[in-house]
């Protein structure tokens, strides 16, 4: 186990060095920068700014500077927002995380429950209706569901606010604040859950169908165990095992924000910030964020490997 972990950590470092190079050079070698986008600026002022930001140094030197600072926990300074990148992350990421963690949790719970039931009752009317609903949810684009729900639930019925995280001008604190945020996040969470739940339900359904046909399920039934024990103790655990891989991939998703959903619901999350930064070529922020996601991805796969080891006795690390 410990030799595996050391080996794994060395690989992770190598992968991240590779990733950082890719990320840096892709952004650095893209024509244009933060300064060149501004048409009103005079040529002298542009040269001055480039000098100030260190943009006219050789590319490789810039990479080394960026890496050196990053290793010291400094991901640079957002040029457009005039704030340190990490401060900005801290301001926005948690908003995105709030949406993502709630909707991911709901998605998984719903997908496991419905997937298991419809696998158990394969080809029943319940299964058929679930499958139709899933295909519908999967094939409608997110912006459509989002706008449709805003139109019906927010504009027509006025049950929920159409967007934002707080009511404009509100300065609620304490419980009132929490309630207001929950009220505002309901719609985006519903949409995100609807979008994610389809594919995951299908995934669990097919896993479960596979497992139910295994010999050991027949053995469990032959032992006279109740159907509940057969399903939840013997089948479910085996059906969930392959999903551990997905858990690893969910990690960057939790912090990555959602560009479309945040845009539609005007949610102050990292996805929106990311999109804005693209418009203004705010490369320090873009590089910092991409690197952050890369780190999370690598950590996520490590976590899923360790979880495999814990959940499946056949997996030795």
């Amino acid at each position: 186990m410990s030799t595996y972990l050391t080996k794994r950590l060395i690989y992770m470092v190598l992968i991240l060095i590779g990733a950082s190079m890719l990320i840096f050079f892709l952004y650095a070698l893209t024509p244009g920068d933060f300064v060149s986008g501004n048409l009103k600026m005079s040529a002298e002022r542009k040269a001055e700014l480039r000098d100030l930001y260190g943009l006219n140094k050789p590319v490789f030197e810039r990479y080394l500077i960026w890496m050196k600072n990053a290793l010291h926990g400094d991901f640079g300074y957002s040029l457009a927002q005039q704030k340190p990148v990490l401060t900005l992350f801290n301001e926005y990421i948690w908003n995105s995380f709030l949406l993502a963690i709630v909707s991911t949790f709901l998605t998984w719970v719903i997908a496991v429950v419905i997937g298991v039931i419809s696998a158990y009752k394969q080809y029943s009317w319940f299964d058929t209706i679930v499958m139709i609903f899933i295909f519908a949810a999967m094939s409608i684009p997110s912006f459509f569901i989002g706008l449709f729900l805003i139109k019906t639930l927010a504009v027509d019925l006025k049950w929920l606010p159409p967007g934002g995280m707080m009511t404009t001008g509100s300065n609620a604190t304490g419980w009132a604040y929490v309630k207001e945020v929950i009220h505002h996040m309901t719609l985006p969470v519903v949409v995100m859950t609807l979008l994610g739940v389809g594919s995951l339900t299908r995934y669990f359904r097919s896993n479960m169908i596979d497992v139910i046909q295994q010999d050991y399920i027949r053995t469990a039934r032959a032992k006279g165990l109740t159907e509940r024990t057969v399903l939840f103790r013997h089948a479910l655990r085996n059906a969930l095992l392959p999903a551990i891989t997905l858990v690893g991939f969910e990690l960057p998703g939790l912090f990555g924000g959602s560009i479309i959903i945040e845009k539609i619901f005007n949610w102050p999350g990292i996805g929106q910030l990311y999109m804005q930064s693209f418009g203004s070529r705010d490369y320090p922020l873009l590089m910092g964020f991409t690197m952050f996601i890369a780190v999370l991805t690598v950590i996520g796969t490590l976590i899923s490997d360790i979880l495999y080891h814990l959940a499946d006795p056949r997996v030795k690390l």
């Binding site: 080809y123 027949r218 039934r221 006279g224 006795p313």
Partner: protein, 328 residues
């Protein structure tokens, strides 16, 4: 002697898109107390489906027991509700399967899988069940029982896993053990050990065994009574010695002829020509007629009934033994 299991005119059909498959067709089998009955036949002849019907484990929407009675302990198992059947399954009727490697749950420790039926049927506490399980592991001839209790299926060999399966099966002292090809997946030395053990357990506890196999060697070693199945039908049955010495049905004869005999050098082992007929296209006929060397015209149009011959216990379903037919 009392009958433990009485299968009476059982029919299990599978309704597929191509048509109805009569996997088990009008089969009657009787297992007496303390007796070992073997069902013999080629793959796909309905042996396993018969066993699964008894266990009430015909799964899915396509398969169904359409007719018959399965008498056990004075009750018809087919009349019982799912819950009532479950209290019998694993308790009074237990089953072991062909593939020990895949018959145990890979993510649960061996111990838990043995204690489950004990806690379910005998209402033992976790501690009592553990003690009993360790006792059972020792009983099936595995040393280091405590250690095995906490290990996982992938850490054990096939032979050991089959012993564990037997331990699970006998844990609640069943009256009937159904063994579906229990030694097919094991190597020969282990096969003998497993069979010896089954016999020993049977003798100690006066349990009946319904053994399903295609291996005539296993039959000779284990059976008191043999039932030969072909295409979902019983074609011949009888006491083992009688049947081996004096097989009546051409299929049984063929089976016995295709078994290698030690110390007898043969250029080529006999095999029955042809193949099992497609179960979807069976017409009223003796299902064996296409492969039978003694086929008569009546065999192609009418199905023979299972009848006693020569005043013995042996029964055969073949026109050759029908009076007044063979001469024609």
């Amino acid at each position: 002697m009392k009958n433990t299991l009485e299968i009476d005119r059982l029919s299990t059909y599978f309704y597929t898109e191509e048509g109805t498959v009569k996997a088990v067709d009008d089969v009657s089998i009787r297992v007496r107390e303390g007796e070992t009955v073997c069902i013999v036949g080629e793959s796909g002849c309905g042996k396993s489906i018969t066993a699964m019907s008894v266990m009430g484990l015909i799964e899915g929407t396509t398969g169904k027991v359409v007719n018959g009675k399965i008498g056990f302990d004075g009750e018809n198992l087919l009349d019982l509700s799912k819950n009532e059947l479950r209290t019998i399954r694993g308790n009074e009727i237990a089953m072991i399967f062909q593939e020990p490697m895949s018959s145990l749950n890979p993510v649960l420790p061996i111990g838990q899988q043995i204690t489950e039926p004990l806690m379910q049927h005998q209402k033992l506490s976790k501690k009592e069940a553990r003690l009993r399980a360790i006792e059972l592991i020792k009983q099936v001839g595995i040393s280091r029982a405590e250690q095995i209790f906490d290990s996982y299926p992938h850490e054990l060999s096939g032979g050991m896993l089959q012993r564990i399966m037997i331990a699970i099966a006998i844990s609640c002292h069943p009256k009937l053990l159904i063994a579906d090809e229990p030694t097919t997946a094991l190597d020969v030395t282990i096969q003998a050990q497993i069979l010896d053990m089954l016999r020993e357990i049977k003798e100690k506890s006066n349990m009946s065994i319904l053994l399903i196999t295609h291996d005539l060697g296993v039959v000779a070693e284990m059976a008191d009574y043999v039932v030969v199945m072909y295409s979902g039908k019983v074609v011949e049955e009888g006491e083992v010695v009688e049947l081996f010495n004096n097989p009546k049905h051409p299929y049984t004869k063929g089976l016995l002829k295709s078994k290698p005999i030690i110390n007898q050098r043969q250029e080529q082992l006999y095999s029955i020509p042809g193949q099992v007929p497609n179960p979807l296209s069976l017409k009223e006929s003796c299902y064996f007629h296409e492969r039978c060397a003694q086929c008569m015209s009546i065999c192609e149009t009418q199905q023979p009934k299972l009848k006693e011959v020569g005043g013995s216990t042996q029964k055969v379903a073949c026109w050759l033994y029908e009076e007044g037919i063979a001469d024609v």
